[in-house]
Amino acid sequence: MYEIVEKAELAHTVYQYKIKAPLIAKKRRAGQFVVLRLNEMGERIPLTIVGSDDKAGTITIIAQEVGKSTAMLGDMVVGDSILDVVGPLGKPTHIEDFGIVVCVGGGIGTAPVLPIAKAMKEAGNKVISIIGARNKGLLILENEMREASHELNITTDDGSYGHHGFVTQVLQNFIDEGMKIGCVVGIGPVPMMRAVANVTRPYKIQTVVSLNPIMVDGTGMCGACRVTIGGKNQFVCVDGPEFNGHEVDYDELMMRNRSYIKEEKAAMEEFTYHEGAKCYERECK
């Protein structure tokens, strides 16, 4: 059992948790993730490790309520425990001194960008970040990203805060201004990652994206998370989650991520109407 020792609401339905997991806290590096299962009847879901505190033995995760499992997680409070937390999984981010690194985070995707921005800064890079959200209320980790970057740019789709528009427009401006970018890290919804890759492709700027396919075990034994990268099948959980953004088959990833739309909706309805609060505590008979 893995106890929740801190919980904070970052935005509407977006929560940050600190979870007691000393071994993972000691081992994890930027770019890695955990798979967790809330209870005996639960499913296994992947979430990025946003940070860790080796002394306190905790890891930090951020989750948005988008379906049954994350909604159940959203109902959990400090003192509650998660049944299973496995990690650290996936390959750590390749960190080196690229000169200038532009870190781009879209929506909840800012959470996985944060540890990478920190590590890139520590490695001596000049870190310029662009984070965006649909509106001001959905923007997360502004202060943390400001601290992890030399320069922070904010965009909102509706113009309620920062630059009015998309993160890619700011990135394009940097390129147009002649900024010598060594590497771009772009993480967010799949269409946003594809858009970032499309901006950098003509200039051959190295671009790293972190993929979010469906996962089951997260240790390479099933291939649920397979995605075509540069024409070859790769398992995101063991070969990634980070890949060259210019080689990813984004259409396929989006199609695969829709595989269980019907079932996800049914599970959420069942949960909303029949199970109610505290259902994460259920146990099988």
């Binding site: 999984l89 075990d217 291939g223 099948n233 069942e270």
Partner: protein
């Protein structure tokens, strides 16, 4: 035993196990055969002629004293029979169910030369079930601690055998398991209707009561490396991480929704209990027409699982003919009784999807058998121009697994062969790295539960020797 008694015993017919009828069982996940009654078990046990030099023992990869435990059953001493079994086999209720006995102990049974071999597997199952169901599971006495501790990577059949053996020799043992449940393939691979999960867990519970410590959610290589385990004071490490890397076909359309590896499909259904969705949270696409590609036991397990998820039709697509099917005859027979269809001498060329990226059909080609290949089986050859399509909204690829690469990747000084399997000395399970032993599917590639257990047995003996003497 005199000649007359032997003659008398040979006249007893082989006892048949009753089982759920096919129309009913295909609608549930309960176990198919019910097992022997005590009367049947005693009658079957009397068929054994108690050979002085029993060949059956040599046919068993862990050399169970078969005539002895069978004699105990014939005398009605069921609990004693179970204890006898557990001296050499920590998982008898599992092995009695899933071992291919027709290729092992029962293959060499002397009675089998003249009539049907003694049902050794069913008797093993009976004794273990009887002990469990009558609540009389006792644990053997454990010797004083030797002061040594050993680490086991992977809680599958190989690792659990090592753990049980080493604890009985007086060592402290910690098993590290990546998944949230111990058992390996017994939990995620073999379906509930062939091996009820509560039986696996009760056999694991037995090991825990003997003192085996199991740490779940622990991915060795990611959480701790083998080198760190050795530095932490573990005197020896056994790697039993299995062959869990699914092979794909590398043909177009393989990443459409509805195309699964058998590992994913079986993990969703068995380990995550997707057959009870939405009571359990993990979904699985049930499909209307399901095609399983491959002809081994994993293919049969996948197909019979699919049959229970109520589609209209489930077919096996296999590129050779019926004679070459590697699956157990019993499984093929059970599948056919349950309505499983076969598309033999057929090979998929591509998966065809709809506009949403969901599978709707397979394009296949007919095959014919040519000259024998290195394995001695006749090589399937494509028949030009024989392409045709099979409608399907779920396809399950069961064409074998590769070695799990995690341990070799994070422990580069462990030697592997060109397929990524760990190289060991077959006599003692020693790897190229001092203090590290290995066995089971990570060494053999996909093999059987009992072979993995036999490897575990040999490795445990040599780990014990190494920890006591320090000589490598």
């Amino acid at each position: 035993m005199d000649a007359n008694e032997i003659k008398g015993r040979m006249k007893i017919p082989r006892q048949t196990m009753s089982e759920q009828n096919p129309h009913e069982r295909v609608r549930n996940f309960y176990e198919v055969p019910y097992g022997f009654t005590p009367e049947q078990a005693m009658a079957e046990a009397k068929r054994c002629i108690q050979c002085k030099k029993p060949l059956c023992v040599g046919g068993c990869p862990v050399n169970i004293d078969i005539p002895w435990f069978i004699r105990l059953i014939s005398e009605g001493k069921f609990i004693e029979a179970a204890h006898k079994l557990k001296e050499t086999n920590g998982l008898p209720a599992v092995c009695g169910r899933v071992c291919p006995q027709e290729d092992q102990c029962e293959k060499v049974c002397v009675i089998g030369k003249k009539s049907d071999a003694v049902s050794i597997g069913r008797l093993e199952r009976f004794a273990a079930d009887y002990e469990r169901e009558h609540g009389e599971i006792t644990i053997p006495s454990i010797p004083k601690w030797t002061g040594k501790k050993a680490a086991v990577v992977g809680a599958g059949p190989a690792g659990l055998t090592v753990a049980g053996d080493l604890v009985k020799k007086g060592h402290k043992v910690t098993v590290f398991e990546a998944l949230h449940t111990p058992g390996g393939v017994l939990m995620y691979g073999i379906p509930e209707f062939r091996l009820p999960k509560k039986i696996v867990q009760s056999e694991v519970e037995y090991l825990k009561r003997m003192g085996v410590e199991i740490i779940l959610n622990a991915v060795v290589g990611k959480l701790e490396t083998i080198d760190e385990l050795l530095a932490d004071g573990y005197g020896a490490v056994f790697v039993g991480s299995g062959a869990g890397l699914p092979n794909f076909m590398n043909i177009p359309g393989e990443n459409l929704s509805g195309v699964y590896s058998a590992n994913e499909y079986l993990t969703r259904v068995n380990l995550m209990k997707a057959y009870q969705f939405p009571e359990y949270d993990t979904p699985v696409i049930r499909g209307r027409k399901v095609v399983v590609i491959g002809g081994g036991n994993t293919a049969m397990d996948s197909a019979r699982t699919a049959l229970r998820l109520c589609p209209e039709e489930v077919s096996i697509v296999y590129r050779r003919s019926r004679e070459e099917l590697p699956a157990r005859v019993e499984e093929v027979h059970h599948g056919e009784e349950e309505g499983l269809r076969f598309q033999l001498l057929t090979n998929p060329k591509k998966f065809i999807g709809d506009h949403e990226g969901r599978l709707k059909a397979l394009e296949c080609v007919r095959m014919e058998l040519g000259e024998p290949d290195e394995s001695g089986r006749r090589r399937p050859v494509e028949m030009k121009g024989s392409e045709f399509t099979i409608e399907a909204d779920v396809a399950i690829i069961a064409i074998g697994n590769g070695a799990n690469p995690l341990i070799p990747q994070t422990t580069p000084d462990i030697k592997v062969n060109k397929w990524g399997n760990i190289t060991v000395n077959p006599d003692n399970g020693r790897t190229s790295k001092k203090g590290v032993f290995s066995g089971g599917d990570i060494v053999r590639g996909g093999a059987t539960v009992i072979l993995a257990m036999g490897d575990g047995r040999r490795a445990a003996d040599s780990m014990d020797e190494y920890m006591r003497t320090g000589i490598w």
